[in-house]
Symmetry: C2
Subunit: 360 residues, 2 copies
């Protein structure tokens, strides 16, 4: 059976025939290595152009063992946070001569394992992943990749069970600073929306470490930062002020509604993601409360919306693009053969103070 309409793309062999030279000569000419006489060089180039030759990268990869492709695994490419990471990742990758194969996992570990297997099967040269695994969870799929000489770089979320370059932000410190700024403005009852997802929340501050172990690195760090700030100012931890629901906006609203109905409701809320913040705003509105008069809010992730809001929102801005770019550069370096110890890079998020926080 003949394929398609017949217009099979020309192969290197055909170019060689057309130019009347051997295949190796064509490979050398087009590959720009070895040496070729000016004369034949021109003939080859001419023939290639005439035939509209374009190399089959698959075949090339087959023999070189390199695909010039990076695998990227995140929870959801539609989420602005990951989209930002992806954006920085994509440009840094391209700069380094790599393309990216992206897989979303919806934060499901099983999907993540499949994703990694798929990427490995497609022979990507390296993997950048924001793993859905808990910080101390075993990650055999990632170790598998490493064993197969496929470098893995962790982005946004660290993992203790594996030795790998890691690029994260200063979640804990910036959260402590943000919550601290709330406390310094007189707030003592501070809601924390979206602690780590768990159905076994910490009942007191001493419990935190245990909770944090089994959950997402970034979530855990933020909760720790929150507790740091509380302890530093001698404020007691109240488990009722921390939500552990799934990260959907309605859940954030539900959680805040619950806090607002407490006998001693929060006067400020720290929201750890964009949707947690909009969800918080909805809750206030439902109770007829306003920000910052009744409740101060600090959100996460800056955007042009945050500033034009009324009030403009105080947020923790994460350097998403920079994270993505750093991660890309890290894998690329590993692919290139860099053998130093795994580097743990912490990029700084910054607190942007605007009008959604007021003194109490």
């Amino acid at each position: 059976m003949t394929r398609g309409d017949g217009h099979n793309p020309p192969t290197l062999t055909e170019v060689a025939a057309a130019a009347g030279v051997g295949r190796a000569t064509v490979a050398r000419t087009l590959g720009g290595y070895g040496s070729v006489s000016e004369h034949t060089r021109e003939r080859v180039l001419a023939a290639a152009k005439r035939l509209g030759y374009a190399p089959n990268e698959l075949a090339k990869s087959m023999t070189t063992g390199r695909t010039n492709t990076l695998g990227v695994v995140v929870a959801d490419v539609g989420n602005p946070f990951f989209a930002g990471i992806l954006s920085g990742l994509a440009s840094a990758a391209r700069e380094g001569g790599y393309d990216i194969l992206v897989i979303s996992t919806s934060e499901r570990l099983a999907e993540e394992q499949r994703a990694v297997a798929t990427l490995l099967g497609k022979q990507v040269d390296g993997i950048v992943i924001a793993s859905a695994a808990g910080r101390t969870d075993a990650v055999p799929h990632l170790q598998d990749a490493q064993r197969r000489d496929c470098p893995v770089v962790l982005v946004d979320r660290g993992l203790t069970a594996i030795q790998a370059d890691t690029v994260v932000t200063n979640n804990r410190a910036v959260t402590a600073a943000a919550v601290g700024s709330l406390i310094e403005r007189g707030h003592r009852r501070i809601g924390f929306v979206w602690g780590p997802v768990t159905n076994q929340p910490a009942t007191d501050a001493d419990d935190i470490a245990k909770v944090v172990d089994g959950t997402l690195w970034s979530d855990g760090e933020r909760l720790l930062g929150y507790v740091d700030a509380l302890e530093q100012h001698g404020i007691e931890f109240d488990t009722g002020l921390v939500s552990h629901s799934l990260p959907t906006e309605p859940q954030a609203t539900r959680a805040v509604l619950g806090m607002l109905d407490l006998a001693d409701p929060p006067t400020a809320v720290f929201a750890t993601e964009a949707d947690a913040m909009t969800g918080t705003l909805r809750a206030l509105r439902r109770r007829g409360l306003s920000c910052p008069e009744d409740v101060s809010i600090i959100g996460f992730d800056d955007s042009s919306w945050a500033e034009v809001m009324n009030p403009s929102m105080t947020v923790v801005a994460q350097p998403m693009q920079a994270m993505g770019a750093a991660a890309a550069r890290a894998v690329i370096a590993r692919i290139a053969g860099f053998e130093g110890d795994p580097a743990f890079t912490t990029l700084d998020s910054t607190l942007i103070e605007r009008a959604s926080v007021t003194r109490r």
Copy 2:
């Protein structure tokens, strides 16, 4: 020279050896075709598992001619609009058994051409693209792909120079409806932020067609919808009320500032993208004006922010995920051999009326 630490991934040949059978038998067993006796079947499976065998998809693609990979080309994966498309695209692709290779072009045609060439080189089975080309521009790179039997599907932006499945939204109709709703509320001076990017704006309504030809499909359609509404209500087109600047927030602000300073300033602004809308809001703020009291606004692209804003924003919500999913399904169908005429699919965007528009 030995590669890596030696742990080369096991090949099919090794599995065959370990199981004491021929390679074809292993291929049949693992590939699930042909027939294999229950006995040998088990041995093969056991050997494969024991060695931790995973097929090299590259080699497989090499012989089958299929990579199970879709190429996706957009301006910027970090842009919420494209991120939304990508999200829908990714899940539909995965459902169909495909992975996606994503390339951002920053809206540059040269980058786009390179991107397509790269994808073709990597032998993707199909391409989904939101092209940076003007609606009537020649697109040799895309025709090239088609000639190479690589189906191309256009998403968000149609193109007249090529025959291809296309998935877009009802930009023109929804814009006409939105602008119409403004007119019906008494507005006659309506700013249009981000008409097609050009330095040769239409000077009157009759000029529009020409301007539209050379620019992005979606931008053109929206401008046409704007003019439709004006004409329908007998309002004269004023070129000073249409901005043609580059789509960055600061440019939107600048443009609106200019309109606001007109002797006869707009009482309403229609912003065709999320950033155009936030930019508009900034401009109002700078002039000490407020929305909707002084100026009504209709924006584009819904998000949780739009609703929690104060005032909540009236917007045109685009079905980004659905667009991405439809595009993915379209390419997949073509790859599977579907040969019908190119389909032009129009998905509906909807006007979500909230509080940023008021009667005049």
